[in-house]
Symmetry: D4
Amino acid sequence: ARRGYPEAIYCAGKTPEQVRRIAAAVAERPDVRTLFTRATAEHAAAVLESLPDAHHDPDAGLLAWPPEPPPPTGGLVLVLTAGTSDLPVAREALLTARYLGRQSELITDVGVAGLHRVLAKVERMRQARAIVVAAGMDGALPSVVAGLVSAPVIGLPTSVGYGAAFGGIAPLLTMLNACAPGVSVVNIDNGYGAGHLAAQIAAPVPEQP
Amino acid sequence: ARRGYPEAIYCAGKTPEQVRRIAAAVAERPDVRTLFTRATAEHAAAVLESLPDAHHDPDAGLLAWPPEPPPPTGGLVLVLTAGTSDLPVAREALLTARYLGRQSELITDVGVAGLHRVLAKVERMRQARAIVVAAGMDGALPSVVAGLVSAPVIGLPTSVGYGAAFGGIAPLLTMLNACAPGVSVVNIDNGYGAGHLAAQIAAPVPEQP
Amino acid sequence: ARRGYPEAIYCAGKTPEQVRRIAAAVAERPDVRTLFTRATAEHAAAVLESLPDAHHDPDAGLLAWPPEPPPPTGGLVLVLTAGTSDLPVAREALLTARYLGRQSELITDVGVAGLHRVLAKVERMRQARAIVVAAGMDGALPSVVAGLVSAPVIGLPTSVGYGAAFGGIAPLLTMLNACAPGVSVVNIDNGYGAGHLAAQIAAPVPEQP
Amino acid sequence: ARRGYPEAIYCAGKTPEQVRRIAAAVAERPDVRTLFTRATAEHAAAVLESLPDAHHDPDAGLLAWPPEPPPPTGGLVLVLTAGTSDLPVAREALLTARYLGRQSELITDVGVAGLHRVLAKVERMRQARAIVVAAGMDGALPSVVAGLVSAPVIGLPTSVGYGAAFGGIAPLLTMLNACAPGVSVVNIDNGYGAGHLAAQIAAPVPEQP
Amino acid sequence: ARRGYPEAIYCAGKTPEQVRRIAAAVAERPDVRTLFTRATAEHAAAVLESLPDAHHDPDAGLLAWPPEPPPPTGGLVLVLTAGTSDLPVAREALLTARYLGRQSELITDVGVAGLHRVLAKVERMRQARAIVVAAGMDGALPSVVAGLVSAPVIGLPTSVGYGAAFGGIAPLLTMLNACAPGVSVVNIDNGYGAGHLAAQIAAPVPEQP
Amino acid sequence: ARRGYPEAIYCAGKTPEQVRRIAAAVAERPDVRTLFTRATAEHAAAVLESLPDAHHDPDAGLLAWPPEPPPPTGGLVLVLTAGTSDLPVAREALLTARYLGRQSELITDVGVAGLHRVLAKVERMRQARAIVVAAGMDGALPSVVAGLVSAPVIGLPTSVGYGAAFGGIAPLLTMLNACAPGVSVVNIDNGYGAGHLAAQIAAPVPEQP
Amino acid sequence: ARRGYPEAIYCAGKTPEQVRRIAAAVAERPDVRTLFTRATAEHAAAVLESLPDAHHDPDAGLLAWPPEPPPPTGGLVLVLTAGTSDLPVAREALLTARYLGRQSELITDVGVAGLHRVLAKVERMRQARAIVVAAGMDGALPSVVAGLVSAPVIGLPTSVGYGAAFGGIAPLLTMLNACAPGVSVVNIDNGYGAGHLAAQIAAPVPEQP
Amino acid sequence: ARRGYPEAIYCAGKTPEQVRRIAAAVAERPDVRTLFTRATAEHAAAVLESLPDAHHDPDAGLLAWPPEPPPPTGGLVLVLTAGTSDLPVAREALLTARYLGRQSELITDVGVAGLHRVLAKVERMRQARAIVVAAGMDGALPSVVAGLVSAPVIGLPTSVGYGAAFGGIAPLLTMLNACAPGVSVVNIDNGYGAGHLAAQIAAPVPEQP
Ligand SMILES: Nc1ncnc2c1ncn2[C@@H]1O[C@H](COP(=O)(O)O)[C@@H](O)[C@H]1O
Ligand SMILES: Nc1ncnc2c1ncn2[C@@H]1O[C@H](COP(=O)(O)O)[C@@H](O)[C@H]1O
Ligand SMILES: Nc1ncnc2c1ncn2[C@@H]1O[C@H](COP(=O)(O)O)[C@@H](O)[C@H]1O
Ligand SMILES: Nc1ncnc2c1ncn2[C@@H]1O[C@H](COP(=O)(O)O)[C@@H](O)[C@H]1O
Ligand SMILES: [Mg+2]
Ligand SMILES: [Mg+2]
Ligand SMILES: [Mg+2]
Ligand SMILES: [Mg+2]
Ligand SMILES: [Mg+2]
Ligand SMILES: [Mg+2]
Ligand SMILES: [Mg+2]
Ligand SMILES: [Mg+2]
């Protein structure tokens, strides 16, 4: 648990067998909160062998152990998505922030082609201490959101789209060039990184001057 | 005058001397409406020698002769800009559409970071038959506009910005991936092409069934 | 039905099960014309369960419900292809325009390597109010077509080709640099977007001054 | 002053004459704190005509008016640089955070090729609520810093370097792929954006639950 | 004189002083035909000091010594250009072929946006043994030409254009993806290489079986 | 049979069923020599149903009908490969040239890392009228070959390699920048195009002056 | 055995059958040390048929015959990895150096996000004559290592990562821009090349002046 | 003097005034050997004010102080260039190696288009302990050299060339894909880095087992 946060096991590059061994070791140290990210069904089965009560979110490809998140401290983390295809990545961000100890909520399908939907959520958005905005294709949502709130916006480009979306390069560039200040960007599809950063930003402030 | 539209002389690759010779020839055929585009101050001086009454718009780098645009026919062409730096390219589009015979108007500085500004113009936008949207940096404006109107939107990416704007590649990709249907895109900074296309779209319909 | 046009369900990012649920909901609201695009055989089967009389075009990967297109209004939409491999994308454009209410026709295999074939179609091309030109590889056809007609040309780059075609980047760039004015471009393989835009351009003009 | 923060005038795309007019208008509304960014010597002279007591930092290309920053609130903002060539961009970040109301400090020349230099600063780094890390060339510093602290790290890639640094693309990619969580990235050379975001992250927390 | 062809001095990377020294040495060996390519006015002056009767074509940036080309042998080399801005590069190709001993001709301004112009030249094109086609922007001309003739077509992409022309990358890709067989491509703006290759292709056949 | 050369059917984008129908039509017109390129085993089986005596080269993915090549005319076409992985593409070039009527030979595995191998073949190389050089990875062979012979060299970059070979981009760029004149380039893996062009270059000269 | 080093058979582009034939030939010449690289399980089985006692490292995809490495000469070769996913490529480097006759060791999982791990190994690192550093994602480790030692560092970028890691381009660029001198780079995932070069650098010096 | 090697001052990003101050400080510590790299004429004048006897090589843009290189130890460092335009970068490498204490020699103009020239130098090349090969355009020379010698080859891509040379990207990729083992690569135009690495490779071996 680096710097008080959960340990994260990135399953994508590992065999189910390797993950099984790690999960067995995790079971030995119940004091360390652990997340397994980018877990396929096979990875998940391997984890659940040793940690049968782990929380498993198949959409996000994430398992958490122990299953209950810590009691929330600090500020609210909001995760917004432009479309429904952004959901897996958005849920990875949502759950990461939650298991790092933040109150976290998901608002879906508020893409800029239907402005009324995003405008309807402005009030809730203004209560957040950090907002993750997941979007593929044109990646225009973070620019719009950052113009509406004063909290930091974490742009989370997704590989949703085709052709000149170039596997997420288009929304990545859009977000790096956001015309409203207050936007920064993480790697394409990096829901874990976005949620982790949001939790750090919204962390309780130790000693405030 | 190809297909009934004005002749256009693209000055960028030409010496002032070459432009001077062309302008002298243009003076000989008063029946052909002619535009000089991408004209520097030197190019403009060379044109005005032979065509002293030509209309000259230094911001757009455009000269038109004869100076009066034709009486407008067809539908309204709107040109929108996200920021003030997009103005030269936007004016090139505006004037091209006007000298091709359309009523054309400019609305500036309605970038998505301040949504209220673009929302305040929706009514006028809904009266247009074609809308050119010039934007650099994140290039997010066409997606928002296309979600608000049913007329075709011509995305006009500009080279405004720095770093990962890559001289206009970022807004170009954003516009190609616009999440609202009804958007197409022209080359970076191609105000002439955008205005020409808008004029074609908004042209009077010859014989409507 | 945004702005009077059919609702479109983009199947590519969805499971057959998700599409099945959407089709069931669509069956409940017969007043809303609906298109399912990028549908695989599995997606199509899921749609046809709830909407057994939907029109299904397997080549285009498109289903339409109700099955009859609306009676055509506005101007003619032509869809041209350079080669036979461009057909699926071209048919997606064709059917989209048709179900948005336009008379639409397909002319295939008129690539620029055999100019006589495209020249033989000029007369019909001059009757169109909007022309979609689908081409992969060198993407040269829109430049040639735009030089022959005064209607707007929508360049539709396809991912047909190999090597330095770069999955459609080569024809995309060609079309963005078309040397004839009157060409704009949509995303690679975006037949739906091209057909939608063509239908908007060729829409009946409400009140013409 | 959008959302309580200073107004910023981005001079890069503007003529000295345009900036002069803006400065004159700024002088009329002494209640609005204003920053002029990316100001050349000519821009600065134009500003100082109307606002002779504005604070001017030529290295950062920044002018601030009124000249005194607001009394600092919230947490500490640190700005680190890998090399000396990153200084102008780093100072832009530093001053932006300061004029947005944060205590802000600069630590220079702690590139990863000399680890002892960065290790010597760990204690101060752990007192910051947000850390901006400016680096060009290999852009490796944010990864190292994020591994040493639990505050959010804002990667600020600079265009310092040559050849395969590609004007800042290399450090931009490095930072997007930072192997330590807690790093996000802004546009190349965007010191203003980095400083603004750091100030937002380190802002005083209104009502903490 | 490698392989019987003239020696070529590429001036672009050299100082006038370096070129002067080379020209002086060239004057010593009147048996070796020599070309100076990419010569600025300063380079040219340096050459003409030692070789006052050298042929100088300022548009092409080329000097040849001795000034008369060899009597032509082999087949006809044609050089076509799409626009007038392609002329300098086209002339470099033309003169290179001529000084390598071929009959060579230039046909200008036959871009595909005006098909009648290129169709008017088909007869002459069919008499050539090799055709160089210089084009920037969309680079579509070689595809059209190769469909009309059976001689080899050498695509010569030029850096003419702006925005998504990317300094010649767009026409380079177009030509590499030419949909008619019989097209190959040289480097952007490489008129010397294109002319040299054309001369090799159209060389007299030593002993034909 | 365009311009006297065989008809070519590019199978890659077609279903076996589509190819079967084409082969049946080909059987009806025995006067037209036909090549089927990029044919998988399934494509080949479909061709052989209607054209059981067609020549089939599985390595090259090519079928030819009628099976015997025409009696060779014109000059010799040589095809060289740098490594053994380049063989399929090289054989496609070899057979294309042969079925277009040229004497054609293959020399394999003469990469530049073992110069003695390529030097051992110089004599034969000097007898060719056109040389196709297939190479992946560093793509250095065409530069070396062009320095040794005076015949035109057709660079045929292959997608052999990994990492920074970028699917053939690296050798493509190398060949476009060949430091010896006399090299032109076709698309990555385009053995058909290279062989076709070589046959055109080495064609018998109709009437030589 | 080029220049006294083992022969290497690159299996990736070859069928198991082709590899089988090569292994049979290798069995005939026991004096030539041979490596089979990038061998799948099928390739390995084909090799072991003829060379049953070959050493097989499935992780590295490498087989060596004869199985014992030569007695080590020259200096120490160290191979470092940033993460566990870099292991296959690192082992390929390690074994290549070993079978070329160097003492070689592996140190894993010393990524820069946990500096203490790499600092703990400095002493051993200073005993090496050449250090291979394998890293994906941000590729920052070689910069840090080169700042700690005076031996040459060979950067070995791996394709580990996702999104903007671009299959190894990100760490490749990072390493090319390493801010400490003494770093050079090989192709992405090229463990064989890195190990070979390290063995050459650390080779015994024949006659030292 | 990091790790026993000279201190290097990279002038490119510094004003003459900054360099003057550094030179004055250098004059105070005569025990530290110092190189000034990438120095313009203005930079050089500033250095020579305080260090009038510094060695100045204007071609390489390098100054060294004290002016005499240390007595050479270790092995021979060779620097090869493909063309004459590569000379400035090559000399930077040559002098860096020399001032780091190696015997170093330059061999110029041995590009692969004239193989006899490089073959004539093989004997000397085989006496070197490290070879730097500077090449632009096709960057093919390192592959050829590495096939001829067993010493490590450092590929030094230069920005020489135009068009698809892309400022050195083409030779960089060529060298990364070199088909002979024993080649590694430094950044484009990084003569300092190449010379430094060569000196490290050819350093005297402290204690050889
Ligand atoms: N989904 C994810 N995306 C990016 N990085 C991750 C992800 N999950 C875990 N990580 C990082 O990967 C590290 C674990 O890598 P490993 O030791 O290979 O399991 C963690 O410390 C995280 O910093
Ligand atoms: N600003 C512009 N951007 C792009 N194309 C233009 C522009 N102005 C003119 N053109 C095109 O360039 C053609 C004239 O080119 P030229 O014959 O070189 O003057 C016109 O027919 C237009 O199609
Ligand atoms: N140095 C800078 N870099 C990026 N954006 C900036 C910078 N300075 C100001 N801005 C942004 O540009 C906007 C002002 O643009 P303008 O209205 O053109 O002066 C401000 O609201 C900021 O969001
Ligand atoms: N020509 C050069 N190219 C790349 N890096 C260099 C060059 N010259 C010096 N350096 C590096 O830059 C460092 C000095 O940078 P600085 O402190 O900004 O002068 C030295 O330690 C070298 O590692
Ligand atoms: Mg905001
Ligand atoms: Mg719309
Ligand atoms: Mg037209
Ligand atoms: Mg951290
Ligand atoms: Mg042809
Ligand atoms: Mg040659
Ligand atoms: Mg070192
Ligand atoms: Mg070697």
